[in-house]
């Protein structure tokens, strides 16, 4: 879930939930899914339905691209959608909003790749226009796939930046955007984690839950829905741990 959605959750409920016992949690199923999930416990107490309920409660989210241009984001979304498509009827990179993850990353931790995206995506549209008469995102998927195939084989000679290296960068970031913690802007509604049946972030895993054949219900929570990493300020300071502060 993204920031907006997280902020929409009630902080009081988050705090309160941690104080509840697991039994009370089960009884308190009337609380929102988010509050339940924030409890520092694992387990199959969260049904997928409660996650769905939480997400349907979200109304409108305004979300801008921070660095990608409109044309770049369209080309990138189309490319990511061929890497991890959704034409089989289940969500893929587009539904996960992997491009939003990449966009945010390119303004920060992935900034070193910004130039490669600018050059690569511009070349992608130029090559698509030259060979197919249209920007990449407007080509039929079969034509898009043919271009990707050529990229992976380093076979686009007039546009050497459309190569396996660029493809691998986009593929890696598409995977990260689809399967990362939703905090980072992708994996919207946990569609990535559902795709590979990852049961989600937990604070505890019991022995019973790690037996073969166990099917765990997804926890449907971001790491940062767990209050211990974001909200509980009552943590020991360096001084309380006994450490002196910096310098003399």
């Amino acid at each position: 879930m993204n920031n907006k959605k997280k902020n929409a959750a009630d902080d009081t409920e988050h705090g309160a939930a941690t104080l509840l016992s697991r039994r009370n949690l089960l009884k308190g199923a009337g609380l929102t899914g988010a509050a339940l999930m924030s409890a520092a416990c694992s387990g199959p107490v969260i049904s997928p339905a409660s996650g769905a309920q939480a997400s349907s409660a979200r109304i409108h989210v305004t979300e801008a691209f921070e660095t990608l241009t409109a044309a770049e984001s369209a080309a990138l979304d189309a490319l990511a959608s061929r890497i991890l498509p959704s034409d089989d009827g289940t969500p893929g990179a587009h539904e996960a909003r992997a491009v939003h993850f990449i966009d945010r990353g390119l303004t920060g931790a992935m900034a070193a790749s910004r130039e490669q995206y600018a050059v690569g995506l511009a070349a992608l549209d130029a090559y698509a226009t030259e060979t197919g008469g249209n920007a990449f995102h407007s080509l039929p998927t079969s034509a898009q796939d043919a271009i990707i195939e050529a990229m992976t084989k380093n076979a686009i000679l007039n546009f050497p930046m459309l190569n396996a290296g660029f493809f691998n960068t986009v593929r890696t970031h598409t995977i990260e955007g689809t399967f990362s913690d939703p905090y980072y802007g992708g994996n919207r509604d946990f569609v990535g984690w559902d795709l590979i049946a990852y049961p989600g972030v937990r604070a505890v895993a019991s022995a019973e839950e790690t037996r073969l054949g166990r099917d765990l219900a997804p926890s449907r929570q971001s790491a940062y829905d767990l209050p211990s990493y974001t909200k509980d300020l009552a943590v020991p300071t360096a001084a309380q741990q006994g450490g002196a502060s910096n310098g003399h």
Partner: protein, 568 residues
């Protein structure tokens, strides 16, 4: 010029896995200690279950100091050294013991006497000709009491295999005799590890859960492991991992004799005209400070230990401190822990939780635990499979030639198989060789304009043959457990930057071939001790940290017991 501070008894450079241990015996003896740490404190609140932060973006390792001084690396002098993607060092209270896997092995007794044991059993010609390996200047038995102290001071869980010569049921039957059991039982099994253990038993092998500096029950004021995952390159969210930041350092601070200085970036160890060290110069913000001390313990990572010595030039030591012998940086090795075997199983393994230290070890093919008469190598590898799977890594799984790596078929493949793979971790005996060394890079500098370390090193035939041999054993094990596809990685070539980095300040009786003596003090500088895997001359087939910690404790006790002769 540096501002001179008030004198102290001992300065420890780096409060990580080893410096963080050494401070405890020092303050217990009543010494005043100042610990200089390049990073700061982190708490459980910093250790979120976040794969992007820990594993993709390398936080918390990727903080400024280490990030700006990443070693360069080349296989041999015919190549240009290239700066790699990350520094295996960590700046922070607790250092690498914050984010490591916490596997806490004792080395095999064989590792301490590789040369003499090999010579005795197989002949001197079986020691690789180009290796500079020596027997360690101490035996397993000499180090045993210190292993024991560290296991109890930190909190190491495990199942003993040999207590005072009596083999135990569920531990490692090949381990050296220990004086007593671990303070806590080993980490629990999982469905997957039980499956692998059964397969190993069918092969006639002896599987066991390896030891870990991770609580399995309440120990001191810390809880047992929650098994939630995210231990690999992440700190522990409940402080069940026994990093020095939550164990020996806080314990030492209680004495009031340890003063911690965080964000202190050591520039130079300063010596007097008698060839003794007299203190440490460090950068705090934009101020250069000088901390005088009667003794200095250098306890940063292997690369930084060598780097600081080489940078500490003076009239008495023109080639770097304690380096008139030219031995600083020599006998370097990075552990051969690559060349994994990866398996695909026909069913889900439910391996999403757990931790890399929760696994099954096979020691049949490690060290000298099997007859090498007909082998083309000495030593061997410890086979390890473990739990813990994270979603991005799962989606990046290899496709075993069964699907392309993008598009609808790939999507269907990972959807079905994300929880069906496992990759082994095989740590191998690694030796030092002629031509493998660390020095200062002549071209690449950090942001302060100070040269970074250059690694010139490659694995040799002994390591590559162990890799091939242990891959065979690993494949056999996976097949016995029902694997349907197997991928073997390449056997390895260059020794790039590694968390398991050894040598550069090797310990030994001969000052012509070793920087430090049998107690870890520099042959050329009697009041300078060196802590860490940089003093180790061989790797063994298992993680280095516990051994480096036991040696650190021993060096600190030696300083205490010989205070007058070392400092005067």
């Amino acid at each position: 010029m540096a501002t001179e501070l008030a004198r102290t008894d001992v300065v420890v450079i780096g409060l990580g896995a080893v410096g963080g241990v050494a401070v405890l015996p020092l303050v217990n003896a009543g010494l005043n200690v100042i610990g200089l740490e390049a990073g700061g404190w982190m708490t459980t609140r910093d250790f979120a279950p976040d794969e992007i932060r820990n594993n993709i973006r390398d936080w918390p390792q990727a903080i400024p100091k280490a990030k700006n001084e990443i070693p360069t690396s080349r296989a041999n002098i015919n190549f240009e050294a290239i700066q790699g993607g990350g520094h295996p060092m960590m700046n922070g209270m607790g250092g690498t013991s914050l984010h490591y896997w916490a596997q806490s092995w004792r080395l095999s007794p064989w590792d301490f006497k590789t040369v003499s044991d090999t010579t005795r059993r197989y002949g001197a010609h079986r020691v690789p000709l180009d290796s500079t390996v020596e027997d360690w200047p101490l035996s397993y038995e000499d180090l045993e009491p210190y292993y024991d102290r560290v296991e109890y001071a930190l909190g190491v869980s495990g199942n003993a295999g040999n207590i005072q010569g009596t083999l135990q049921g569920d531990g490692n039957r090949f381990e050296g005799p220990r004086s007593r059991a671990y303070p806590m039982p080993g980490l629990r099994s999982s469905g997957f590890t039980d499956m692998m253990s059964e397969a190993a038993s069918q092969l006639g092998w002896h599987p066991f859960q390896g030891p870990a500096a991770i609580n399995t029950e309440v120990y001191g004021n810390r809880p047992g492991c929650f098994y939630h995952g995210f231990c690999d390159r992440g700190g522990c969210h409940v402080a069940a991992k026994s990093s020095t930041a939550v164990t020996t350092i806080p314990e030492a601070l209680k004495s009031g004799l340890l003063k911690v200085v965080t964000h202190a970036r050591v520039l130079k160890i300063v010596n007097d005209d008698q060839g003794r060290v007299r203190g440490v110069e460090y950068l705090s913000g934009n101020q250069v400070l000088f901390q005088p001390a009667d003794a200095v313990l250098l306890a940063s990572h292997t690369y930084e230990n060598t780097r600081l010595l080489l940078l500490s030039k003076s009239r008495e030591f023109p080639a770097g401190l304690a380096n008139n012998s030219g031995q600083v940086g020599q006998h370097y090795l990075s552990h051969h822990q690559g060349a994994p075997v990866t398996a695909l199983f026909p069913k889900n393994l439910n391996n999403w939780y757990g931790l890399p230290a929760q696994g099954v070890a096979i020691d049949e093919w490690a060290d000298d635990n099997f007859d090498h008469s007909d082998m083309q190598f000495i030593g061997g590898g410890n086979l390890w499979v473990h739990t813990d799977r994270k979603p991005i890594a799962a989606a990046k799984m290899p496709t075993f030639g069964l699907a392309p790596n993008w598009g609808p078929k790939w999507k269907a493949f990972i959807s079905e198989n994300a929880d069906r793979t496992n990759s082994s971790y095989i740590q191998k005996t690694t030796l030092p060789y002629e031509g493998n060394y660390l020095d200062l890079d002549p071209f690449v500098k950090d942001k302060l304009g100070i040269p970074v370390i250059r690694i010139t090193a490659e694995h040799r035939q002994n390591e590559l043959r162990i890799a091939a041999f242990t891959q065979d054993r690993m494949e056999e094990w996976y097949r016995a457990a029902g694997a349907v596809q197997i991928i073997r990685a390449g056997l390895g070539a260059a020794m790039g930057p590694s968390t398991h980095a050894y040598g550069g300040t090797r310990m030994g009786d001969n000052p012509a071939t070793n920087v430090t003596d049998r107690f870890g003090f520099a042959h050329e500088v009697k009041n300078l001790g060196v802590l860490g895997a940089s003093v180790m001359g061989t790797s063994g087939a298992r993680n280095p940290t516990l051994t480096a910690q036991a040696l650190a404790w021993r060096t600190a006790e030696h300083l205490v017991a010989n205070w007058d002769s070392i400092t005067q």
